[in-house]
């Protein structure tokens, strides 16, 4: 049942969200966001899966068939995999920016506790 994959991705998403909402160590918050990011990949690729499908690669067809026939066969959804690839890149990019900001904050505030990093409020 692919529903298990969906629900696991929701669970991982929620674990990450819980880390973001409750953890005060900023690096831990970033890790929470990374987890949420990873869960979205899982969700998308589970959506792309079809029962018994193969990877969307039109190489090495079974004997007696042309590669063109594979395009009509039972394969996973390439469009969703495209989204996932884009999201992976976005995830790395965001994490890199995040961590450089966190290190700078550590230098300025000498803490990684997000509750002590709040000069601006009100």
């Amino acid at each position: 049942m692919i529903l298990a994959n969906y629900l696991t991705s929701a669970a991982v998403f929620c674990i990450g969200l819980y880390a973001v909402l409750t953890r005060r160590n900023m690096i831990k918050m970033v890790m929470g966001l990374s987890l949420m990011e990873a869960s979205t990949y899982l969700f998308m690729l589970s959506l792309a899966y079809r029962a018994g499908s193969t990877a969307p690669v039109l190489l090495s067809p079974p004997p007696g068939e042309s590669t063109r026939a594979l395009a009509h066969g039972n394969v996973a959804d390439p469009v969703l995999q495209n989204f996932c690839l884009t999201a992976v890149v976005i995830g790395v990019a965001v994490t890199a920016v995040f961590l450089s900001v966190v290190v700078r904050i550590a230098q300025h505030y000498r803490t990684l506790d997000s509750d002590k990093v709040r000069e601006m409020r009100g």
């Binding site: 998403f13 969200l17 973001v20 909402l21 409750t22 953890r23 005060r24 900023m26 918050m29 966001l33 949420m36 990011e37 979205t40 969700f43 998308m44 959506l47 469009v79 969703l80 989204f83 884009t86 999201a87 976005i90 990019a93 965001v94 920016v97 995040f98 900001v101 966190v102 700078r104 904050i105 300025h108 505030y109 997000s114 509750d115 990093v117 709040r118 000069e119 601006m120 409020r121 009100g122």
Partner: protein, 584 residues
């Protein structure tokens, strides 16, 4: 040029600034100012292309181009469509023109920055503008998400630009947390829609959703609205906004507030009007509620601020609320007012942030309580600030009067008297907040004089003058702008089926529309005057009393913790989902 040839040029306004952005870090090695100058050229090219499209599009045509000619097959579009409808083109044009003005201003105000930092600044600035233009023109949900992310990533570096300011980095962290959460929300929403309907094209989604919107679609709608509302800074999602604006350089605050925040509204408009259709869910009531809360809360928080840029940032929250209220009416007048206000807000809020940035840049003062007496030392900045404040206030010769008047009359047409009164209250508080700021910063007498301040440079003068001039122009000739620009834009939003068929067919026409506006309506003039008087009294009184308890509670809720702001935003998304799912 034929329509198809015109349409094939549509990616250029995105690609040109991107090319400029890619060149910027290298050009910075030659000279710090070179990247900014090249960006101006690139943006000039983008404006030219957009202006080429303008006559056809504002004449009611929808120009559509599928990248690489991957046109829809049997109504299923795999390729990415760029569709210039009047609304999208209007926002793209505003982004390109105002962005160019802001860069020109940057060149003369911050031209003394080191070459490397100026190069990075120019690069991110252009990427952000390219993303805004792309998001305005695209007709593909996933492509919208990509442009949203480009805008987000460019904004992070710009927020933390002044690294010596601890608050800049703090703000960068908050905007990172909230925007990343928003992007997950949008991504999952888009994924759900694709899973259910196998479509990404607005038009194809619109056709699939027409008539039968099921529970998962509504959850997807909630996720999308929650995500884009974070960008727009509507109320439960606005934690990042004030902080980011406070710490960024002046022109960047202007860019964020004038243009980037509007991206959220544009995306919400696309999702609600072009994809789902306004009638499909209780989404308009939701927008009304969120808008009113944002308008009031933003105004109150603005009144209570002591930091000039922070005050303006909270006012942005309030103005976004007003935009949402205008959209929620669902009538031509109301949406016309909202679109008009979108442009007005881009103009006057950029102007105000440039003024605030100039004050901070040249005096080093950020707090209103420490400023004062700047009117004599900075007469031009003071004049510009007053023009901006009067525009927001909705005083007749300036542009805010027109858009607020349109939204007010739309509310009254629908007998939303309570909403109308709340809007007036928000307006009063807004005027009081800005009046108080103007008094404290510029006109209040101050014993200790300021040191010698440098003169305004020509670029700064040009930037302030052109924005202020636009504020007056949009206030003086509302008939012209309503007729030529706003009415076609509203027509596209009110006829989503026409838009959809145009996108799928590759070209199309929108029906004509007329938006009436009575400039000399006595009721509107009277209410503007009354607001001014009451606001004056409020500002005067507020300077003398101590902070009232409700305001203190509100301030305590904005406790600056990234965790809590994230909690607000997620709670907001959940509330949106709950309302949409349960109130159908």
């Amino acid at each position: 040029m034929t329509g198809a040839a015109l349409a094939s040029l549509l990616p250029l306004p995105v690609a040109l600034p991107i090319a400029g952005a890619a060149a910027a870090p290298l050009l910075a090695r030659i000279s710090g100012r070179l990247p900014v100058i090249v960006s101006l050229v690139a943006l000039g090219g983008a404006v030219t292309v957009l202006l080429l499209e303008a006559p056809a599009v504002f004449g009611g045509r929808v120009l559509v181009h599928y990248m690489g000619f991957w046109k829809p097959v049997n109504g299923h579009a795999l390729g990415i469509a760029f569709a210039a409808d009047p609304f999208g083109l209007l926002f793209a044009l505003a982004a390109a023109v105002i962005g160019a003005i802001l860069l020109l201003y940057t060149l003369s105000e911050l031209g003394g920055l080191g070459p490397r930092e100026l190069g990075g600044y120019a690069c991110l600035f252009q990427l952000l503008l390219a993303a805004l233009i792309g998001a305005a023109l695209t007709a593909d949900l996933f492509n919208l998400f990509v442009w949203f992310e480009v805008a987000a990533l460019a904004s992070y570096g710009l927020t933390g630009f002044f690294l010596e300011r601890p608050i800049a980095l703090e703000a960068a962290f908050k905007i990172l947390v909230l925007t990343t959460l928003a992007s997950f929300s949008i991504f999952i929403g888009a994924g759900l829609l694709y899973a259910r309907h196998g479509a990404l094209n607005y038009a194809q989604l619109h056709d699939a959703l027409r008539g039968h919107v099921a529970a998962p679609d509504l959850i997807a709608l909630g996720l999308l609205i929650g995500g884009f509302a974070t960008k727009a800074g509507l109320v439960p999602f606005h934690g990042w906004l004030a902080d980011a604006h406070t710490a960024a350089p002046g022109p960047v605050s202007a860019l964020f507030s004038g243009l980037m925040v509007n991206l959220g509204i544009v995306a919400i408009v696309r999702v609600v009007f072009c994809v789902y259709g306004p009638g499909s869910a209780p989404v308009l009531g939701l927008l009304l509620t969120v808008g009113l809360i944002s308008a009031l809360l933003g105004a109150v928080m603005a009144l209570a601020q002591d930091d000039l840029k922070r005050l303006l940032a909270y006012d942005t929250v309030s103005q976004m609320g007003i935009l949402a209220v205008g959209l929620s009416t669902g009538t031509a007048t109301g949406i016309g007012g909202a679109v008009y206000h979108l442009i007005n807000h881009a103009l006057f809020k950029s102007l105000l942030f440039l003024c605030a940035g100039a004050v901070v840049h040249r005096t080093g003062l950020t707090k209103l309580s420490e400023m004062g007496g700047l009117a004599r030392r900075m007469p031009v900045v003071t004049t510009a600030f007053v023009i901006g404040a009067l525009s927001i206030a909705g005083i007749p010769p300036f542009n805010g009067y027109v858009s607020l008047g349109l939204i007010h009359s739309a509310l009254l047409d629908q007998h939303e008297v309570a909403a109308y009164i709340l809007m007036l209250i928000a307006q009063v508080i807004t005027i009081a907040a800005l009046g108080r700021a103007a008094w404290l910063a510029f006109f209040r007498p101050r014993e200790a004089g300021h040191g010698k301040l440098e003169q305004l440079r020509p670029g700064m003068l040009a930037g302030l003058a052109s924005l202020a001039g636009c504020c007056v122009a949009f206030g003086v000739a509302p008939g012209f702008f309503l007729e030529t620009v706003m009415a076609p834009a509203v027509s596209g939003l009110l006829n989503p089926a026409r838009y959809a068929s145009a996108v799928l067919a590759g070209a199309g026409r929108l029906p004509g529309l007329h938006i009436p506006f009575d400039y000399a309506s006595p009721g509107e003039l009277a209410s503007a005057g009354a607001c001014l008087v009451v606001a004056g009294a409020l500002a005067w009184g507020y300077l003398r009393i101590s902070e009232p308890a409700p305001v203190r509670v509100l301030r305590a809720a904005h406790n600056g913790s990234a965790n809590d702001y994230a909690a607000y935003a997620v709670t907001g998304t959940l509330a949106v989902i709950a309302v949409l799912s349960l109130a159908r």
